[in-house]
Symmetry: C2
Subunit: 346 residues, 2 copies
DNA sequence: CTGAAAGCGCTAACAT
DNA sequence: ATGTTAGCGCTTTCAG
């Protein structure tokens, strides 16, 4: 347990700890000569500064915390990837913390972040104002993702759910001429799910007035999408299109329909929301609302970084929205073929 | 910037900081009465202990660091998920750090971990002994994943690449009777890639002696798999089966073959390695070597946790191997149909 | 240019 | 049972 500290280096180099600190941090105030000697000793001793000790005094951890819900899958992977990408270019580290939907868990996670991170990115579609107020240290710069909260207190970044849903319904109803569109909704207490459903309803009124409105309950899982598809099958009368509130449900529905012998997109078009990587690999390739997930993560981090640099920028803290467009593949019957690459490995 | 410290609580509650510490940490030695008062004050002031300060003295951060290569995709997401799952049940936090393949980057990442983590999980298939020796603090418990290193110094956890490759070749050559098997290899400097290729060669000698050996270069990317498929197509003579060193390459190859009008699995069987989530969604669903990626991550963390609990357990540090079996789907022509669910959302 | 000393916020002896 | 005190390893005035 040879934990070598700055003192060891100082003693070995025959200088004070102050000089070692100055030399190693390039703060100036040391002869090139002594600096060289100090660096040599440090290297020889394999000295590495102690992070906690340093941040205790500098009040900087160069780490940002990310609090995510306890859901996994490609949406979150991509989001983390975006955050990480941006964090790295800024020399920031990432402390991830997934929490059960139970808010107690999230609260505990939030508390332990104090003194370990310089700022926070919170994706908690169910977190309400009081929860955040109770658990977010006042002084910790925070960026909220996909949150219903508006505010002076936090910086908020949202996906344009209404716009995306509207664009999809428009495509289906107007361009493809399919007015009978069923919707598979997400969890009722999820903000994104709410916005997407509302977007669907509004857009139906706008682009397919008088057409039947059919909303099935889902949980954002493939499984629940499958069940919704089965339900559709069992109902005896299929819609001409199914718009799911996320891709995994769309895929589940696709499977159910295929098993039921339904031709997609021939008989029923199926579309999703998010454009997770899998979307392009299923057959037929999924037409969906493209959310630039990686960009979302990246933007969140950039905003947070800006907050860190400019202490009292809280004023500039307007709620921004990340636009999304639709990407047309095969599952809505619009085109016969397509192929694209990603460069992701393994 | 009202950063409330333990002193504030002490003053407000009319006690010493020591009592506050004792009360809040449940160390005992305080009247139930005063403890109650202290807790009330702490709650009212919304006091949250400062992590860095605390770990400076306790020498515990309750955080473990994960150093991953700068590759993204489902393999890594699943791995992180496994680690995170296990970490959470043990009350540990996760500091992720992806590094460019450039070792300088990794070195820097490793250094900044000092004082921020209690232990390390390193997945660095190219990291050699000297690199690790130079950059890993002697005193930091470390678990290496998929590393060629053996050793007394680190705990190593590997995937059974040779066994997996062997099982797949056996399935293809013996059970399916396809002896003409081409192999798409991974990056030459990657340990997993090396082992898988070697496993293929050995198994071919064992199960398909005399059969032509065909090895194409790949990079573990879908794109490189596609190119390999195209190469096969261009060569004029297709093998009866293609075994790719990972799933993404298998999928790329699948696409190339499909575009070339080749029937998979009718004319050519295609199989992969890893069993990433996408594997079951492509058409035809991919037969592959199942690596229980989540379990790999989980095991890594459990081992690390064991190391943390038992300081001098370094002796018990044998290199373990996680077995893998093959999962037969449609791309090798063995079965007509299949469907499975995952419960992952979004 | 360099060293001594004062903390950062907290816990853990050691007193009382 | 509670308070006092000495650090954890580091940076940063402030003297010299």
């Amino acid at each position: 347990m040879t934990t070598v500290t700055i003192k060891d280096v100082a003693r070995e180099a025959g200088v004070s700890v102050a000089s070692v600190s100055r030399a190693l941090n390039g703060t100036g105030g040391v002869t090139a000569e002594t600096e060289k000697r100090i660096r040599e000793v440090a290297a020889r001793l394999r000295y590495v500064p102690h992070g906690a000790a340093r941040s205790l005094i500098t009040r900087r951890t160069h780490t940002i915390g990310a609090l995510l819900p306890d859901m996994y899958g490609e949406f979150f992977s991509e989001l983390i990837r975006g955050i990480d990408l941006a964090a790295r270019t800024r020399g920031l580290h990432l402390l991830v913390s997934s929490a059960h939907d139970g808010m107690d868990d999230a609260a505990a996670a939030l508390r332990t972040m104090r003194g370990r991170v310089d700022g926070l990115i919170v994706l908690s579609p169910r977190a309400d104002a009081s929860f955040l107020h109770a658990n977010l240290p006042e002084s910790l710069p925070t960026v909220l993702l996909n949150s219903p909260l508006r505010g002076r207190r936090y910086s908020v970044l949202n996906i344009d759910n209404p716009g995306g849903a509207r664009a999809m319904v428009r495509h289906l109803a107007v361009e493809r001429g399919l007015r009978d569109i069923a919707f598979i909704a997400g969890p009722p207490d999820n903000f994104d799910a709410q916005q997407r459903e509302e977007g669907y309803r509004h857009a139906m009124a706008e682009f397919a007035p008088g057409a039947p409105l059919r909303v099935l309950r889902g949980e954002f899982t493939e499984d629940s999408g499958y069940r919704a598809g089965a339900e559709l099958l069992a109902s005896g009368k299929l819609p001409r299109a199914v718009f799911a509130a996320n891709d995994m449900m769309a895929i589940g529905c696709l499977l159910a329909l295929r098993e039921g012998g339904v031709d997609v997109p021939g008989e029923v078009a199926v579309t999703g929301f998010d454009d997770i990587p899998i979307a392009r690999y299923v057959t037929p390739a999924l037409t969906t609302v493209r959310v630039r997930i990686v960009d979302l993560g990246r933007s969140a981090l950039e905003r947070l970084a800006a907050l860190l640099d400019a202490p009292d920028q809280t004023a500039t803290t307007q709620a921004d929205t990340l636009g999304c467009d639709i990407v047309v593949r095969d599952s809505c019957g619009a085109r016969p073929h397509a192929r694209t690459f990603t460069n992701k490995a393994r």
